[in-house]
Symmetry: C2
Subunit: 325 residues, 2 copies
């Protein structure tokens, strides 16, 4: 299977790493909006300009689009789906139905196969919500995120006057998580589920109290949470907060039996040293499924919900049944 | 979707309960090898003799076969797949490839759809091994079972002279589980992974020391484990050990990034008050997928690996994308 990477940030580099781990994957190249001469890839993968992408129409089986969900993917994915089978990690949950429709129209019209919203949430967490709810319909599920870096919240802090750099960690409230893990099914407020920990480097002479106040009262981002703000030096930021870990938990407890007498709890959790590298690894596995499904004649837009798990593995059906079932 | 239950033990009763929770499921009847007059179902579901099953050929969309893996399913599933779409919970891991081939031949020849080895292991645990290994190929996975009742091991104890009743719990070794959960990837012996706890009711005057010795040295079942034997009264057995709980954990840790510098851990765990009711709930969800896949023209034998998750849910693709992705 020949893949290519479109966009070379953290996610694109993660796909380049993941490609090394999969023997059936050949990485054709990296496509960038920058000048290809200025970009050096981790493993010496050839770099091309996005302007030349159509020259590769018959040389790439699946194009993995590594752009941002806010502005890149809504344009890139439908445009590229006109000429390539594509996979993206579109993660703006509220806009998934709209993105799906637009990509589906482009892929159908051009007889390509597209898969959107791949990664861990949306992605593996979504799959676990689906499996758990299908098996235990009389139940309730909970998703907790963290401990991990939220890029969007970190960016929001950086936009405050006097802030030089910032890192925000989302952390599940330990007692709430334990209660849900024990099979309880409470109604929870935003504040009861997650804490927001902020590490901030301020300009010299900045009003720290004012910055802290602005963070804690910021609507949507922080006002509804218990938020802690810790001021640190740039040196500490680089030393202690240079990684991009994340993770979280999906838990569903459901009742079974006569008079719902039995309680059953399903839990799926991730502890990721590298959020983008894990997402990238998922993109490569789902690219394999897109390639196979396209070969079998599937066209249009898909999500992880539409992929039979066997299509994700390099092993054959017989091998999977013998060693993994 | 019209389903029927073939075999009415713990699993069959679980399917009857699960059918009540799914609005799109109509339970046509229970088929039994016993005299139907002697069998009273939990929810008043009509009971028929297995001898009359062919009268229902066009009245049942999917037949859920609730027999044992040792002797029932190897015969029942291929035979019934000649006339019905079927689902079973065949769980003798080593014999899955053989069972698959036989059922596949029967289903193909008769243009029916069969799904085998559904439940949690094989089943949901297998799916999690597959997803995790496809996403993190450079890693290692571990499956721990318990704390839960092992029926086979309980039966083995009951066959010892002087034993009236017995219940065996499989329990993961806590320190080993914690080590794997922390991202370590040790090589483990059988003894390092699980403990076997036995609760035994002995005949009056039986030689307890001898019984304990026979249990602890029983090859395959107990000799390779740290085994504890506790003698209890029949009253205690009924009071404290009448339920059939089970569960366990699948954990995979895999490396990503340049020089495998990042570690990522995926964990899937189940805590089940009722092992058979959870398995039954999975059978009903997968029966829905079998029904839909058969309607779309799929024939032959499948496993949970071959089912796109969207087919398990009563919700439409658009609904799933809007609320669960």
């Amino acid at each position: 299977m020949k893949i290519a990477i479109y966009g070379y940030g953290n996610l694109g580099r993660g796909v380049e790493c993941a490609a090394q781990q999969n023997d059936d994957v050949e990485l054709v190249g990296v496509f960038t909006r920058r000048d290809p001469k200025d970009l050096k890839t981790l493993f010496g993968t050839p770099v091309y300009s996005v302007d030349d992408i159509l020259d590769f129409k018959d040389k790439v089986d699946v194009l993995i689009i590594c752009g941002g969900s806010a502005t890149d993917l809504p344009k890139m994915t439908p445009a590229l789906a006109c000429d390539f089978n594509v996979v993206d990690s579109f993660d703006t949950h509220a806009k998934i139905p709209e993105h799906f429709e637009i990509v589906d129209a482009a892929a159908y019209a051009n007889e390509t196969t597209a898969l959107i919203s791949c990664g861990w949430d949306p992605g593996m967490f979504s799959l676990n919500r689906l499996y758990a709810s299908a098996i235990l319909p009389d139940g309730k599920d909970y998703t907790f995120w963290g401990r991990g870096v939220s890029q969007g919240h970190s960016d929001a802090i950086r936009r405050i006057d006097g802030v030089v750099d910032a890192r925000q960690y989302t952390v599940p409230v330990a007692e709430t998580l334990q209660s849900v893990r024990d099979g309880n099914t409470p109604e929870l407020t935003t504040r009861q589920k997650h804490i927001r920990e902020c590490y901030v480097v301020a300009e010299e002479g900045a009003n720290l109290q004012e910055i802290e106040q602005k963070i804690k009262t910021m609507p949507n981002y922080f006002a509804d949470y218990d938020t802690t703000v810790t001021f640190i030096s740039m040196e500490e930021m680089k030393r202690d907060h240079s990684e991009i870990p994340h993770g979280g938990v999906v838990i569903r407890t459901g009742k079974t039996g006569v008079n719902s007498c039995h309680s059953n709890t399903i839990e799926y959790s991730l502890k990721l040293d590298s959020n983008p590298e894990f997402t990238a690894s998922a993109l490569v596995a789902f690219a394999r499924a897109v390639y196979r499904m396209h070969e079998r004649g599937t066209i249009g837009c898909l999500t992880p919900f539409d992929v039979a798990p066997a299509d994700l593995s390099p092993l054959s059906g017989a091998e999977l049944r013998a060693i993994m079932l």
